[in-house]
């Protein structure tokens, strides 16, 4: 397995945006999701690049972990995320993109 040094979040950069635990976690999630997607685009044109695939797997796993963590703490990120709850919690505000969720 490729060592994934990126598990250490660049907290200096994050803190310039906002400081709440929720928004820091969201930023970390967004970063990993973005990196995974960018690696996916690379793999679309380099499908047999095993090292890139290892990075991709690492990034996807990390992103999934972060989604789990976020939804456990702050509620679903998508409507489908609400299936972990006893009720349909998707309509409970604030949604993840609203200002109140990112201050």
């Amino acid at each position: 397995m490729v060592k994934y040094a990126g598990e250490v979040c660049d907290m200096d950069l994050v803190s310039k945006i906002n400081n709440s635990e929720r928004s820091v976690l969201m930023r970390k999630l967004q970063s990993n999701y973005f990196s995974a997607y960018d690696m996916q685009l690379y793999l679309d044109t380099h499908p047999k690049d095993q090292k890139a695939f290892e990075m991709f797997k690492s990034l996807v796993e990390k992103t999934k972990q972060l989604i789990e963590e976020y939804e456990e703490k702050y509620g679903p990120l998508t409507a489908w995320g609400s299936i972990k709850s006893k009720t349909y919690t998707w309509l409970e505000e604030p949604w993840s993109w609203e200002r109140e969720a990112n201050e």
């Binding site: 990126g6 250490v8 660049d10 970063s31 960018d38 380099h46």
Partner: protein, 162 residues
Amino acid sequence: MDDKLFGINTDSWFSNNESGLSQSCNSSNQVNSSVGNSNVSHTAGSDSTANTGNTINNMTNAINNDNNSNSSNINNNCGSNSNSSSNTHSHNCGCSNSQGCCGVEAPGAEDMPGCRCVGYGYVPWQMIGEVYKPEKGLNEGTVFPELALTIEEYGKICRGGM
């Protein structure tokens, strides 16, 4: 903190016969068996047109330009691969001009790498090296440092100005 996530020596990735650099610059411009490898097959759907096939040849030439010191060999032989088993392809290319691979060379294209023929796009093949950490990648808009360029920088690099 170092922004680079991975430091990978890419040389070794493309130094063997599995590198996907074998050439097949035949005059028919058809996609053929030599492009069914990891580095080019994605662009070559089974229903690819002749132009697609030629573009692939252009791209593989570009790879060779990046990976071989003997560029004259590339230009004169449709990008013959320096790897031991691939030279047989270089003699079957049907090159019709000094640049090989296709018909009419673009005027003033002497400084361009790879195939320099009218009507054919050229995109250098990306080979992964280091990548940014996720935070840095999101900030830059790409995890690949070689792609993190402003349009001004990009133009300068292409003209050899940086």
